[in-house]
Amino acid sequence: MAMTINTEGLTEVSEMLTRLGDRAQDVASGALFDGAGVVADAFTDAVNSIRTAPFKYARPGETRLPSPEEKAALLGKSGVARFRKNGSEVDTVIGISGSAGYADVAGTPKAVRLIARSINSGTSFMVKQPVFRKAKSKSTKAAEAAVVAKAETMFEEIIKG
């Protein structure tokens, strides 16, 4: 699962990048790296906060917590995707991906993003724990601050030569 964070409101950084010309993409990448790291760390904390209980099939009409194995499958699977140039912008995706390392009852390899989505949104038989939505909400401002701080530092370094 991946989430989008819009930083279009960072007008000062945007103006700064325009003035930098050819060096803009370096600054954008460096700043994005720091901002993405803040969100990725929040996602890791979110995984650690998931409540679990030993697996048992939920009896009809009841819900269950995720199993320790499902939580373990998510650990180490959150991260930042390779940065991609998109015109004058630099894009990345922060989220959870990969295989859980085991198959579901139908024999299909289980994707960790499916587990993450089941925990975050809940299902009719899985207790809802919106830890990833909360992580995104709580880390966005800190991520934007990290982007601005890094961009300003790099900008000053370039100006000083």
């Binding site: 009409g61 989505r117 949104s121 009719s124 809802k128 939505r133 909360k134 909400s137």
Partner: protein
């Protein structure tokens, strides 16, 4: 409290049963839950919290698409939360055959 008004409006919808937070035992028909998830925003002034907003969610589980029920849920959200809500996901549960819609909303904490 604004949240209580949302609960009241959801529980008045025909063809579906709503509970706050969770069902001890799920109903056999269409059902849903509504809950506050976390504090989304707050403004601090004079060393006290001035304005606070809660983020919460409505989960609707239906047998089949049930557009009328979904529409009524959205009307309740529109009435209580105005524009501060969105449909976060709609997914089919292969194990149960239910359709799960998750709405996310923000309301003032008052």
């Amino acid at each position: 409290m604004i949240f209580d008004e949302l609960v009241r409006q959801l529980q008045a919808i025909e063809g579906v049963q709503f509970a706050e937070y969770e069902w001890k035992t799920r109903p056999a028909g269409n059902f849903g839950t509504v809950q506050l998830d976390f504090e989304a925003e707050d403004d601090t002034g004079d060393d006290v919290k001035q304005d606070r907003a809660w983020e919460g969610s409505v989960d609707l589980y239906t047998h089949g698409k049930q557009w009328m029920i979904a529409s009524a849920v959205e009307t309740a959200l529109e009435t209580v939360c105005e524009a501060s809500w969105y449909l976060n996901s709609e997914q089919y549960e292969r194990e149960t055959g239910l359709i799960h819609r998750e709405y996310v909303f923000q309301i003032e904490a008052r």
